[in-house]
Amino acid sequence: MSGIIAIISQPPAEGLTGGDLEALGGAAALAAQTGEPVLAAVIGHSVSDAVAEAGERGAERVYVADAEHLAAFSGDAVVDAAESAVAASEVSTVVIGRGTNTLEFAPRLGARLGGGCVMGVTEVRPDADGGFAVVASVYGGSARAVYRLAATPRVIGLSPGLAPAPDRDAGRSAEVVAVDAPASAEERVVVDQPAEATGPRLEEANVVVSGGRGLQRGDNFALIRELAANLGGMPGASRAIVDEGWAPSEEQVGLTGKIVSPDLYVAAGISGASQHMMGCSTSRVLVGINTDRDAPIFRYARYGINGDALEVLPELIRLTRERAGG
């Protein structure tokens, strides 16, 4: 068994983004270590553009499961299709980027294939015997663990930022192999009311202004929204205030929320627990506003204001409104 395959499921029509590009980058990084070829599997319906792009971004061969029942995500259908692609390609390793549905199918695929799976991999290390070990965070980022997946085929779920997206080279193209992906007789999990993806994505915002329990009251989250809007960015939240109901869970940043990496991240009234920092610590410039000078947020922050967010935020709002000419 040889080859590293990046799984791309339900690619958007506009071109590959986020986790799909990370999977191709991660596959290339692994292949550089093991000398195995980079392959891709594209799962969805009417996916010829994504197939071409995977080739332009370095996949030597692309396995395609294209069928009507794969148009929308279904864990059962995607695991079946990925299993077929892995069987056809006889790869040693499957790489999956972080996406909306990764948690729903990556570990299942690892169990199905028999080699197991490690999620949230931040680093790949070469092994003495030509193989590799993987590193993932534990305790929300307070420590790291090194794992080995000895058996193949194995599944690796990547954390964003492990490797850059491979460049696109229009001169390159992949050999395309169609994979049989019949619909199963029974649909065990049926989406009745889909989540509506509306508006811009937090993961792609250049500026994120986040609030935490230091805001004292739910109403004060309006300050976060206003400052974010003035800076042309988006609001984010700690889990503590999502649990309080001050912000919706889609706005949560962190280990179990969104992972963002904007140019500017402002954390107001957020302690800086490792689980929160997992979602924002790679931001270019991080600002902490906190009444506690010893708060962990200041270990990660480039700039800190040791003060009351309820006094500082209104001033920032006023000044940024003036800047925007409003």
Binding site: P107, V118, R144, R148, V191, P248, E315
Partner: protein, 263 residues
Amino acid sequence: MHIVICAKQVIDPDGVNSYALWGQLEVDESGRAFSTELPLIINAYDDQAIEAALRLRDDGHDVTITALSAGGEDVNQLLRHCKAMGCDEIVRVDDPDGPPDAFRTARLLAAAIRDLGDVDLVLCGRQSSDYDQGTTPAALAEMLGYAYVTVAFDVRVEGERLRIKRATPLGEEQVLASMPTVVTISNELGIPRYPTGRGMIAARRHPATVKTLEELGVEDGDGAELLELYIHEVAGECEFIEGDDPAAQAAALLGKLEAEGVL
């Protein structure tokens, strides 16, 4: 309806956070565990999984709830908590020195669930707060051949199926799932209830049923082997913005951010 909830014992994550913050988190000589003496608690999402099961009972369904945990004798305390919360039966798969390999754990849990027989719904936490992997329930679903639904915050019976609300990164999604199913529970479910006094008394009189790996006929297999744990440094280089008042601090901060080119 027979519901199994899978509960894992973990080191209190808030304690780990504070120890890490004060530089007191240490890896022991095995290289694979923390030497820190911190309290062991139920993984918080698993507590919410019990709550999800109890809410189905509150809805008037005739449910039997079995709490299941794989571990050594120290998880008896966790199982007593599950009983006190309102679970009917508590089962421990005796595995005192099991490595933290989700795929191995899933094999033990799958064998125990097969041993129980007629299970309709398995509720797990979305991930454990120690290894943060969220792989055990997925592997469990595969091994049992059950349907699989993640990050649920509301689970209801609708005819022969379950109507499940999921907290996806895009927002709320509702799915209908056939049974048997493995469902993982997320914190959006809300705060679990406290054990009642009566529950606590019942728990004291109710020992866990213990199953050995031999009895369950658990097979060996491959998974994720933990080689080592380590603690990495967080490089702090914070520049505090001083100023006479919040207005001055805000202006100084914006000046810095403009100079950095991020505004």
